[in-house]
Amino acid sequence: MNKQINQKAWLFVLPVFILVAFNALIPLMTVVNYSVQETFGDNVFFWSGLLWFQEVLTSERFQNALIRQLIFTFSILAIEIPLGVAIALTMPRKGPWVPVCLVLMALPLLIPWNVVGAMWNIFALPDIGLLGYTLNALGFDYNFTSQPGDAWFTLILMDVWHWTSLVVLLAYAGLVSIPDAFYQAAKIDGAGSWAIFRHIQLPKMKRVLTIAVLLRFMDSFMIYTEVSVLTGGGPGNSTTLLSIDLVKIALGQFDLGPAAAMSLIYFLIILLLSWVFYTVMMRNEDQ
């Protein structure tokens, strides 16, 4: 669409700009401020340069949290994206079951995050939880509060439970938008179901799948509440992801300098990756 050049359009954007600026710029400046200063209490601050950044970047604690975060994010992407697409492919496209499926599948998305954590905690308890009890009855030695491996298994299962529906809904929306004529043409050419998937469905889903990957990447990189309620970062530090570590430092220990430096590094990582995704996405749109 040809857009008209009109500088007065800024007036329309102004309320949004003011509100978001108030919420984003002031806190961000606070963080920048703390990240370059040192304090011995009494609100007296000294310039400390890049000391905190150095300290955070070289600390083993931050590196480990970052590695755990990357493992977590890529594991759930590797599971949720193919699983979501597979489920979307098998969903009915017409009929009375469509709204039923959509409503039931969207349900986990609308449960407050701490309730998701609490629910999975109760569900996975080894003695009285359905999952924990069943696994132990089947002969697995399962206890997510004491064994790191089990904690990770529960964490990833929880995230798959919580967010796969988002991928399903997006992929499904992409599938529904394919006209029937495409399938008829494929039928005439004698294409099998794999060929249909590879050459018709997958290219048509490319756009929505990019968005699904983008959203799942961002949100899993920021995950806090569910993990904090389910495992609290434990056992030990085994499930301490980036944001859990950050909240521990910032609100638990009130170590303003390191917390601020870590915040900025954390935010920059997400910003950089979101820019990459955004560019790729926009290029897809232009084609």
Binding site: Q4, A9, F12, V13, L110, M119, L130, L131, F267
Partner: protein, 267 residues
């Protein structure tokens, strides 16, 4: 699309989704004794005690009212300011438009954990700490960008001829915008409001950080119960079950719009 016995996969998936929810509901109807007594697939001593406690104890039910209050304020505010902005982005070119749009989106990607502490200081400084307004304003950080993004998608789908015809007919801009344009994109507003509701309803870190007593969200009340008064799992489960209900209602009412909103890929 070829459909051969494909109902099995979605059915299994939905079954998997329902299991933890069933377990939560199951727990909510049990007495504390039964829960601690051992494993059982369904409540043997069926009780409504947990729900009665929640509906009669003000520390519990005010939590729900607080949550609904800030979610409501946030949804109305986000959609209201996002409407003109989305119109500007979809119809006009102006200095800095692309940068502004990307900058807005980056806020959708800002981790709440980064903003928790500065928000606490900012809202304390302006005297809004522990009010519904504070949480509602804080949640606009990610909900306004989202609403602008969704609405811009819907508005770009409306042909520009609609605007031009209205001008020719002599409608002043605001009358056109309110009487003609907004009803045209009602579905988009529904989807945007739904997602604002959703993300404000499920977020806890900021809501908890910015409140202490007067505006404490239900989710934070639950956290307190879990940690201080021992193992009141039944009560916790009942409170959790009740938090699912508003979401279920909302999703039922907007189910037809959702698929449409997702189809635009703007969520």
């Amino acid at each position: 699309m070829p459909q051969t016995k494909s109902w099995i996969v979605p059915t299994l998936y939905i079954f998997f989704l329902m299991l933890p929810i069933y377990w939560l509901v199951n727990m909510s109807f049990k007495t504390t004794n039964e829960i601690l007594g051992g494993f059982s697939l369904y409540p043997k001593e069926f009780t409504l005690e947990n729900y009665i406690t929640i509906f009669t104890d003000p520390t519990w039910y005010t939590g729900y009212l607080n949550s609904l209050a800030y979610v409501g304020i946030n949804t109305v505010l986000s959609v209201a300011v996002a409407l003109p902005a989305a119109y500007a982005f979809s119809r006009y070119r102006f200095i800095g438009d692309k940068h502004l749009f990307f900058w807005l989106l980056t806020n959708r990607m800002a981790p709440p954990a980064v903003f928790a502490l500065p928000f606490l200081q900012l809202y304390s400084a302006v005297g809004l700490f522990d009010t519904h307004i504070a949480v509602a304003l804080a949640h606009t950080l990610f909900n306004i960008p989202l609403a602008v993004w969704i609405l811009e998608g819907f508005m770009s789908g409306v042909p520009k001829e609609l605007d031009e015809t209205a001008y020719v007919d002599g409608h002043p801009f605001w009358s056109f915008f309110i009487k003609i344009f907004i009803p045209t994109i009602a579905a988009g507003i529904g989807v945007a409001a739904f997602f604002c509701f959703m993300f404000s309803w499920v977020e806890l870190l900021l809501a908890k950080t910015l409140t202490s007593v007067d505006a404490k969200p239900i989710a934070a009340t639950m956290t307190r119960t879990a940690s201080t008064s021992g193992y009141e799992l039944g009560l916790l489960a009942a409170a959790g079950t009740l938090t699912i209900i508003p979401g279920a209602f909302v999703i039922y009412f907007v189910r037809n719009y959702i698929a449409k909103g997702f189809a635009l890929g703007r969520v």
